[in-house]
Amino acid sequence: MPFNRDQMAARAADDIPEGWVVNLGVGMPTNISNKVPLEREVIFQSENGVLGIGPAPAPGHENPWLINAGKGLITLRPGGSYCHHADSFAMIRGGHIDLCVLGGFEVAENGDLANWATSENDTAPAVGGAMDLGAGAKRLWVLMDHTTKDGRPKLVEACGYPLTALGTVNRIYTNLGVFEVQRGLGFVVLDLAPGVTFEEAQSKSAAKLHRPS
């Protein structure tokens, strides 16, 4: 049975070691922070200048001045701090973020990511911080369904959608499993959801999958 969204987030969360500074993209990736126990100190950053995001605020204890990049209400944990946008993106662009997890439209076997515009003629796509994160984080993981709603593969030989970042994706977490992008080789299967076979994952991908050596 493929992973559900909660399990996908949990699977990615399991792979984040203590001490990493992690930026989570808006949408599905944001859920990852809920799956990391507080005792395992992972420092979540949000590009609007928040470092050290804590658990979701208790009802009635929301602080309206404290939001994340998705505009959701958050908390700050002890040791957290604030900075301005240029300093925040200095962290990102300067390679100080250990990991960024983004959503994706397509990932190519060379590590290219497309996740911001659906065509060259898209009239006004919203890029936000995705290109900065895609180019700047030390590691880039993508958390997405393995295929589109109408069944088109999202692991591809080359992206058809406009690119967000070139050759920087390291790993993809989908409902079918976990895939590593190996430079010069392509997608390597690290793990599969319970009951999902290699052949099934391959049949739902538009690029060759490799078994780990």
Binding site: P64, A126, G129, A135, P162, L166
Partner: protein
Amino acid sequence: MINKIVQSMADALAGVKDGSTVLIGGFGKVGQPDALIEALIEQGATDLTCVCNNAGTGRAGLARLMELGRVRKIICSFPRSEGSVVFEDLYKQGKLELEIVPQGTMAERMRAAGAGVPAFYTATSHGTLLARGKEEREFNGKMYVMEHALKGDVALVEAWEGDRWGNLAYRDSGRNFNPVMAMAAEMTIAQVAHLRDLGEIDPEKVHTPGIFVQRVVHFDRGTPWT
């Protein structure tokens, strides 16, 4: 005595010229200078270029300014979002120019303007549509894009506290774009929730020193609507 505090919103916006580039702070509703945007609508300047992380939502504030036909161009990272109906209409009708800039590049371009750096290189957007027409260059085996400083004639910012020298301190995630915009504009106008006496703001946590601020106006908008 230096006194940058003005008594009315009209005084705060006085003199903003047609054709100005206006930097508008805030991320979401937090740190967004709503009262100053309303005052800009009142003030009447038109043919504006607005730099703001998004392109307005609903029918108030920046969206209202656009709907009134006062905005020629929007420079932002996130034009289309839930409720950006005015933007979408005007843009489809070809009544609005749009320059999409990656969020970090946008912040850094303003920081560069404030810091006297006319241009810099960044890996962000290299090889993408947003790098089209931009100079590329290799440093240490990696490709970068040249980006230019983004200067404002006016910046509208919101802070938690401010004093008569123009010193500002922000609250929580209300800091966001405000300090870089304050640096980058010829005339920075700050809407502050609390006026403080000189020296009341801890010198170690003045986030925007008064050197970057020309006018301060008191407006406690209360809780940001979220």
